[in-house]
């Protein structure tokens, strides 16, 4: 009995030693020499492998940033400025600060604002739906609400609100990696500057139809009336193809456009409440 046990233990130990030696030599033989700085940079990176930087993942980003002569063209949207500063320090380079960004869903066609005209019964994917037809409302441009952005988001930062039927961004979790922007077949989501104290003003509509058509489809669509563009003292608003767009680099957040917009398509977020005017038009409509 004891003999069997001893023999078994001896065998296992011998096998273990043998494998250890083999593994050691194999590891030596196939060892890849790598710039140690790559490991350093990779450890600074968030490690989400989201691809938001345009590279294949965090390791590829580290590899390429080490090889590149400068920090130009490299930015980790997830880690943002603190991470980029750290990487620059580790590599002994200079880095310029970028304004922090956030994903913005430019559609407010909730179920209440934008009545459904038919029922989609296919596979629940915006991409499949968009390739099939204009959508289940009178608006051909709005959010389809099937959640391709939600599936693409690695940070659990965007969700289709079941009551509104449109995608809503969780600002605290959004890292502006841009995955949702690429996933949206309607190109509704845009990365915009996060703004001072997270305050932003934007046109929450991309409907290019003529005003009358838009108005019929959605109560809060941009009808291209150009009132906002005329009001804007900074020339930040352009109206093209019947839809207004606010250039966030020029916008000074005076919010005059918000007041004049007849359909409440221009949204202001995270501003302290004003006494007179209704604060967030998109909430009043729900």
């Amino acid at each position: 009995m004891t003999g069997t046990i001893l023999f078994t233990i001896a065998c296992l130990v011998a096998l273990g030693l043998l494998f250890a030696v083999v593994l050691y030599f194999v590891a030596q033989k196939f060892k890849v020499e790598e710039d140690p700085r790559i490991g350093t940079v990779e450890s600074i990176l968030p490690g989400a492998n989201c691809g938001g930087c345009g590279q294949a993942g965090c390791h590829a980003f580290a590899e390429n940033v080490v090889k590149a002569p400068s920090m130009e063209g490299f930015f980790c949207p997830v880690g943002g400025n603190p991470v980029m500063t750290k990487i620059a320090e580790a590599l002994g380079r200079a880095v310029e600060e970028k304004a922090p960004m956030v994903a913005v869903v430019r559609c407010n066609g909730s179920l209440a604002n934008r009545p459904r005209t038919n029922v989609y019964d296919g596979y629940a994917s915006c991409k499949v739906m968009a390739s099939l037809y204009a959508g289940d409302t009178g608006c051909k441009f709005g959010c389809l609400g099937k959640g391709d952005c939600e599936a693409a988001c690695k940070f659990d930062a965007i969700h289709v609100d079941p009551e509104k039927g449109i995608a809503v961004v969780d600002e605290d979790k959004c890292t502006a990696c841009g995955a949702c922007v690429r996933a949206c077949p309607k190109n509704i989501i845009e990365l915009r500057a996060k703004g001072f104290k997270n305050r932003r003003v934007f046109v929450s509509c991309i409907n290019k139809d003529k005003g009358a058509v838009t108005r019929k489809a959605c109560s809060t669509g941009c009808i291209g009336c150009s009132k906002c563009a005329k009001t804007c003292p900074f020339g930040a608003i352009t109206v093209e193809n019947n839809v207004a767009y606010i250039d966030f680099t020029k916008c000074k957040m005076c919010r005059k456009c918000v007041e004049v917009c007849p359909t409440h398509a221009i949204h202001e977020v995270n501003f302290p409440p004003k006494p007179k005017i209704e604060e967030k038009p998109h909430e009043e409509n729900v």
């Binding site: 296919g122 994917s125 099939l132 204009a134 051909k140």
Partner: protein, 445 residues
């Protein structure tokens, strides 16, 4: 043994409930909306402006590329506007809106019932006449017919196959024209054979249309070079590749065109349009549309002018029933669901099918049980379950290409047969488009 194609296929219930409804001429409409995108390829360029007077058969738009086509006015009256209008999917497409005034035809169009058998034209003249008449494939793909009648120089056509299979359930428009106008269809076939320079012709008809087979066989006695072939009932026999396989036992290799097997396939409806274009100088301005569905009290086969709003057709057919849950342009397997009932008919519209919720509602999806029924049903010998798995993994385009996703003909057999209710074709279609994009961009390099 009746012929059929050799790989895959399914047997949906054929539901040919409108087969006994003779073709009726659809009443005159007040306004026609003629789409500029009625053919595969570039949309036609309008050559009329608002306020112009047009007659039936007058050219109102010209082709804007090699694969494009003429569009003629289906009605006489005044052009009200030229501009975008929503098609059945709700997408904006340029249309010409014509207010109908009377029914005045262009000079030179023979509107009599006289059947002209002689074909005095040369192949070039035939192809030109077909092109000028705006004839497109009426089987569904609306490929311009004149392009198909002039195969590339290095390819030699050997035979013409007329597609009278109508393998889609419910549809009966081809069945009706084969019963009512067999002679004209066969003359159209003979015209196309002359244009192609071939001496052999076939008409493939599925066995569930005995009356059409009888009338075509009878008429074919006068055309010794055309043979009527009875085919087993099996979907998707009307697919170009499947029909060639069924009739002449040749399979189009992957990536090749049907002409590589020496066969040119044309729908019987197209054949009739070619006859009218060449012998009667009548451009393609109307087509036969089946209006059917179990929830409709009466089934119809209407001869409808192109540009008639679908809502108008439904109104004349007795209105949309209360139980209607889905309106489909075409058959239940490959037709397109209509999102906008005000959309106007186009040349290739063969049917308006109305299904109830029980008949059409998608099933809830459950787990794949790996029964391989989709692979057995796929007429292209693909493995839909695998394509679905790779598609859902995301980004695996190389693997999808290796599994020949681009061979998919989107017939829907896989989704139809899947016991787990997995929307296989939804996934495959979208990824096929991506793979095709990659292949094209690679070819450009």
């Amino acid at each position: 043994m009746k012929k059929t194609f050799r790989i895959g296929g399914v047997h949906p219930h054929d539901n040919k409930i409108s087969a006994e409804a003779a073709i009726e001429i659809f009443p005159a409409i007040e306004t026609a909306y003629v789409s500029m995108a009625q053919h595969l390829g570039a949309p036609a360029t309008p050559v009329v402006a608002a306020g112009d007077k047009v007659k039936v058969g007058q050219v109102i738009a010209e082709p804007s590329g090699f694969i494009s086509g003429y569009v003629h006015s289906p009605v006489s009256g005044t052009v009200k506007s030229v501009g975008p209008r929503a098609d059945i999917a709700g997408n904006m497409v340029p249309h010409i809106e014509i207010t109908v005034e009377g029914d005045e035809w262009m000079e030179g169009i023979d509107t009599s019932d006289r059947i002209i058998t002689d074909i005095p034209y040369s192949p070039e003249e035939i192809i030109d006449k077909v092109k000028k008449a705006g004839v497109v494939g009426l089987g569904g793909a609306s490929f311009p017919t004149h392009v198909k009648l002039a195969p590339p120089k290095d390819k030699k056509a050997e035979c013409l196959i007329l597609n009278g299979t109508e393998c889609e359930p419910y549809l009966t428009s081809d069945d009706r024209i084969m019963r009512e106008r067999p002679q004209e269809i066969l003359i159209g076939g003979a015209i196309m054979m002359k244009a192609l320079g071939v001496t052999r012709g076939y008409v493939g008809i599925e066995e569930n249309k005995p009356a059409a087979i009888a009338s075509m066989t009878e008429a074919a006695k006068a055309f010794p070079q055309i043979e009527v072939v009875t085919l087993k009932k099996r979907y998707p026999q009307g697919g170009e590749k499947q029909l060639i396989d069924a009739v002449i036992r040749r399979q189009v290799p992957s990536g090749a065109l049907p002409i590589d097997t020496g066969a040119v396939v044309q729908n019987v409806g197209t054949s009739l349009a070619v006859y009218e274009a060449v012998q009667k100088n009548k451009p393609l301005i109307d087509n036969v549309i089946t209006v059917t569905g179990h929830c409709l009290p009466v089934q119809h086969n209407y001869k409808v002018r192109i540009g008639t709003p679908m809502s108008k057709i439904l109104e004349v057919a007795g209105g949309l029933p209360e139980k209607a849950a889905k309106v489909i342009s075409g058959g239940p397997m490959m037709g397109r669901a209509v999102a906008n009932l005000d959309a106007a008919t186009v040349k290739a519209n063969g049917a308006i099918l109305i299904l109830t919720e029980e008949e059409t509602r998608r099933r809830p999806e459950s787990a794949c049980i790996r029964c391989s029924k989709c692979a057995s049903a796929c007429p292209m010998g693909l493995e839909p379950w695998l394509l679905n798995k790779l598609s859902r993994a995301g980004g695996m385009f190389d693997e999808l290409e290796k599994e020949r996703i681009f061979d998919c003909i989107e017939c829907g057999c896989c989704s139809f047969t899947c016991p787990a209710g997995i929307p296989l074709l939804d996934m495959i279609r979208i990824n096929k488009a991506e793979v095709m994009k990659i292949i094209r961009s690679r070819a450009k390099k």
